[in-house]
């Protein structure tokens, strides 16, 4: 298997507070890696390191190496190219205060695409992938902020897909969506993983079980366990706490 992302000895701290300590992780191409773990264990921080969003936090210090396709993500001074290669979906829906159409075409437009036909094609494709097309196809020019929370979340996913990322990071994407829609999007992710790598932070353990090829258990900034799903959920764990967490006995 080809290593898409290699994380080597990654440490993140905010001032004196260590969020991630000496983390090593390889993410393979075209796999779905689910990351589970209780709150405050550094899952979101890990995702934010991958697309260098930490650059914007002056208090955060990142040490260690992250390689994407074998090259350090810090090689290029400009982080925008990296961010186009890595799609990011935040836990709370963010519909930018513009129309639905402008929202989905925002990334390609910022990348310099001006061809209206191409933009329309990208928009339709991404909205369909995010299971939102049927609900909004008749009102593409209304403000995205008028959509419901669940619809905005799917819009966020559509926007993350609009720049054709190689890696898609999802940070608890389903907390604002109903189970039916969640299933629709999970089906989409199943389809997507043929082409791209997916890293998914989730609090729903069944989601990790359903979607993941491998699952990592994080606690206090370290990876306790990392294995293929049948092993992790089959009880073959290195640390007893992983088993407790999965079975809901944790704490």
């Amino acid at each position: 298997m080809i290593k898409k992302i290699q994380i080597q000895d990654l440490s993140v701290n905010y001032g004196n507070h260590n969020v991630i300590e000496g983390l090593n992780l390889d993410i393979y191409e075209n796999e779905v890696l689910a990351i589970i773990g209780p709150a405050n264990s550094g899952k979101s921080s890990l995702l934010r390191c991958l697309n260098r969003m930490m650059d914007f936090n002056p208090k955060a210090k990142v040490k260690g190496k992250i390689l994407l396709d074998g090259e350090s993500i810090y090689d290029d001074e400009d982080s925008t190219t990296l961010r186009r290669r890595i799609g990011m979906v935040s836990p709370l829906p963010v519909g930018l205060p513009m129309t639905i159409k402008e929202n989905v075409t925002y990334a390609p437009r910022m990348a310099g695409c001006k061809d209206q036909h191409e933009l329309d094609a990208i928009m339709e494709d991404c909205l369909k992938k995010a299971a939102l097309w049927d609900e909004v196809k008749d009102r593409l020019d209304t403000l995205a902020t008028k959509l419901s929370g669940g619809q905005q979340q799917r819009l966020t996913i559509a926007r993350a897909l609009s720049h054709h990322p190689e890696v898609l990071c999802l940070d608890e994407f389903s907390i604002a969506i109903d189970p039916v829609t969640t299933m629709k999007i999970e089906a989409v992710l199943h389809e997507l993983k043929k082409h791209i790598t997916i890293v998914m932070v989730t609090n729903v353990i069944n989601q990790a079980k359903r979607l993941g090829d491998r699952t990592a258990m994080m606690l206090h900034g370290k990876i306790l366990d990392l294995n293929t799903n049948d092993k992790i959920f089959g009880g073959e764990v290195k640390d007893a706490r992983t088993k407790d967490y999965i079975e809901g006995l944790f704490g």
């Binding site: 914007f56 925008t80 799609g87 935040s90 963010v94 720049h163």
Partner: protein, 289 residues
């Protein structure tokens, strides 16, 4: 039947009382503005005519109109806003989007807040020293406008800064996440959503510039000029200064003249404000979160 308990009735009465207090206070705040305009109109009415607005003052400013003062006020306001707006908005964007929270930048913020508290006559002396004498602009429209601009900068910076910070951080992050650069994010996300707030600051600046007397006293405004300014290096007359002159310095001015002049000044400011309110409304309805 539902019989409200004594406690519920008391609660209801308290609620009503509180509402009444609030509306009364609001009304009394509104009242002075109405009374001022009404009084000015009443007392200035005899002098108001088309000629009053379009003619030069004659007979040692005891007769004629106020045309040159209106022209002068326009020059001053427009140039000062043209100077202070770009500067102020740029500074605010830097402070909000780029500056990190270090000692230097905290000092800059503190300085801006303090600058807002400096009395206008001090600004006038600064303008006299910096623009009139040091930069050798002489007493001119340019020097007076620059002085007004310096005076308005903190107002514009503070209000712009506030409206920039009111744009949720999650919007910026969403924009960065899809690979937009910092500049693109400011241009396409932050600025469009803070325009209403920025406009408010600019309107405050315009109102202050139009009404300001002390700051332009030594820097570019004349008591009386027999001609209209041709370039920015000429002196000019201004409504506020003219009002001061004919109220206190000139003998034999008809009673109605100062009131009519004041009314024109207030109407000018009000009309600028209403344009801005209209613009704000327009931007608000177009973009909303």
């Amino acid at each position: 039947m539902f019989n409200p308990s004594l406690q519920l009735i008391k609660k209801e009465i308290r609620q009503k009382n509180f509402e009444n207090i609030l509306s009364t206070v609001t009304f009394f705040l509104f009242l002075p503005a109405l009374v001022i305009i009404f009084m000015l109109f009443l007392k200035g009415y005899p002098a108001l005519s088309w000629n009053f607005l379009t003619q030069d003052p004659i007979h040692g400013m005891t007769a004629g109109g106020i045309f040159p003062t209106i022209v002068g006020t326009f020059w001053l306001v427009i140039i000062s806003v043209l100077v202070s707006c770009p500067l102020g908005v740029t500074a605010a964007i830097y402070l909000s989007e780029y500056a990190t929270d270090n000692k230097m930048n905290r000092l800059i913020r503190l300085a801006i807040l303090n600058l807002a508290g400096v009395p206008s006559i001090v600004h006038a002396l600064f303008g006299l020293g910096a623009f009139v004498l040091f930069l050798k602009m002489g007493t001119s429209i340019l020097a007076a406008s620059f002085t007004l601009a310096v005076m308005n900068l903190p107002v514009i910076i503070t209000s712009t800064l506030e409206s920039l910070q009111a744009v949720p951080m999650s919007y910026r992050e969403a924009s960065w996440n899809v690979g937009a650069s910092k500049l693109q994010t400011i241009r396409h996300i932050v600025l469009p959503n803070s325009i209403p707030g920025i406009l408010t600051g600019v309107v405050f600046a315009v109102g202050r510039s139009a009404g300001e007397t002390a700051a332009i006293l030594f820097t570019g405004v004349a008591f009386y000029l027999p001609f209209l300014p041709q370039t920015v290096f000429d002196q000019c007359m201004s409504l506020s200064m003219h009002l001061f002159t004919i109220s206190t310095q000139v003998v034999g001015v008809p009673d109605s003249y100062p009131f009519a002049t004041a009314l024109v000044l207030i109407m000018l400011i009000l009309s600028v404000n209403s344009i801005a309110v209209g613009l704000r409304y327009y931007f608000r309805t177009r973009r909303k979160w």
